[in-house]
Amino acid sequence: MKRIILVLVSLLMNAGILLAQETKIDVFPAAPYDRFIIYQTLAIFWVGIIGLIIIIRMKLKEIERIQSLGIDKEDKDTPLLD
């Protein structure tokens, strides 16, 4: 009997704490699967960004190489073909 009362009291106390707890609004999907997909997408996003940066860097290097050779300037005396 003593044990049952003790269990009941502790149950009530825990329930009281739960009731008094502030409800926190989920600002991020709570399901583990959704979370996994989001983190995976973030990693892929960064791979995409790094890839784009590498492509732009390569393009920039090529432009700088052409500029250093001086062949990017338009020749004014070039004959035009109609």
Partner: protein
């Protein structure tokens, strides 16, 4: 229609040759501090992101004190990717203001405000002020207890200004206290008035940058080692930096989405340990250092007057710094710039830690 035909169609109607020639001849000097040229571009990029994410959020947000809080919870919990767009808008704002502060302080320290760029400085500082007001008005949209208390403190602080204080406070609040009227007003500022003024000012600011060209710091005038064409070299570099900033913003938005507190209750006391957004911390901390009463006068009013004077001096600094305008070294204003920068950083850190 092929690209060439489209191009021909356009060129038959509009003469864009002068623009093309201008883009080709725009040069950017190379020196020790050239990295700081990118901060303005970063801020502009973040403004564009803010416009896009803001428009998306405005489709679902209800600007009424009864429904505002609920509509945000629905955006975050029910809409597909709603949490992400809200978080992106939040972090975009933080990074945009950070970029603007870095841009402003670097301009101050390198004295890029000097003749003939005074108007550039003035438009830039007004844009910084508008961005801060963007932040404050956007914060109230949440209509939770923290946002409510922060706006009450901020508008109350403005009310301490002598003569015009009460008018500003009533104008911002739309009444005596922060109510549903304030929310409607702040919403109107946030989605119509401020974006309109921002677009006009950014347009004018960018036009002035093109008109005057890039400023070279006084200390670097004889150390410039060549010029880089803006198009395409610097544009590509800008793109790289924007991609990195986008990556950082998305990472923050994903890993640290902003919390939502309890719904605002005008009758409830302000929550404990309330702090404003980080860009208000230096003001908040300054106000905290002032006693309630100084020689029989209200301490807060004195603090607000001193802060306003400091901001006013900061705003008009190009007109006070005569030496820099003449192209001479001005040690005094270098120290003033350092003092402003350090004060902002130290007070923000103290405010954050206390």
């Amino acid at each position: 229609m092929s690209y060439q035909r489209l191009k021909d169609w356009f060129e038959e109607r509009y003469d864009i040759e002068p623009l093309r020639v201008f883009a080709k001849h725009k040069l950017v000097p190379r020196h020790k501090y050239e990295i700081l040229y990118y901060t303005g571009g970063i801020a502009m990029f973040l403004f564009i992101i803010q416009f896009i994410t803001g428009i998306v959020l405005a489709f679902y947000y209800v600007p009424h004190h009864e429904f505002a809080y609920k509509s945000i919870i629905e955006i975050v919990t029910k809409l597909n990717m709603g949490w992400f767009f809200r978080s992106l808008h939040h972090w975009g704002a933080q990074l945009a203001i950070l970029a603007l502060f870095i841009h402003a302080f670097s301009t101050l320290l390198l004295k890029s405000y000097r003749k003939p760029r005074e108007l550039l400085w003035l438009t830039g500082i007004v844009l910084l002020g508008i961005s801060i007001f963007f932040g404050l008005s956007g914060y109230l949209m949440l209509w939770d207890e923290r946002a409510f208390a922060a706006v009450r403190v901020a508008t109350g602080g403005a009310g301490n200004l002598p003569l015009i204080g009460n008018f500003i406070k009533s104008f911002l609040r739309g009444g005596i206290d922060v109510t549903g009227e304030t929310l409607i007003r702040f919403y109107a500022f946030h989605v119509s008035l401020l974006p309109l003024v921002t677009m006009i000012l950014i347009g004018f600011h960018v036009f002035l940058v093109q008109y005057h060209g890039m400023s070279i710091p006084l200390s670097q005038e004889k150390k410039v080692h060549g010029y880089t064409p803006f198009f395409p070299n610097l544009l590509y570099k800008d793109l790289i930096i924007w991609l990195i900033v986008l990556g950082i913003m998305v990472t923050f938005a994903t890993l640290l989405p902003p919390e939502i507190g309890k719904k605002a209750d005008p009758l409830a006391p302000a929550p404990e340990n309330i702090k404003p957004e980080w860009y208000f911390l230096f003001l908040f901390q300054t106000l905290k250092f002032f006693p309630g009463e100084i020689m029989g006068l209200n301490g807060e009013t004195i603090a607000i007057i001193l802060i306003s004077c400091g901001i006013f001096f900061f705003f008009l600094i190009p007109f006070f710094d005569r030496k820099s305008s003449r192209g001479e070294k001005s040690v005094l204003f270098t120290w003033i710039g350092v003092l402003y920068t350090l004060y902002f950083i130290i007070m923000t850190i103290i405010g954050f830690l206390s």
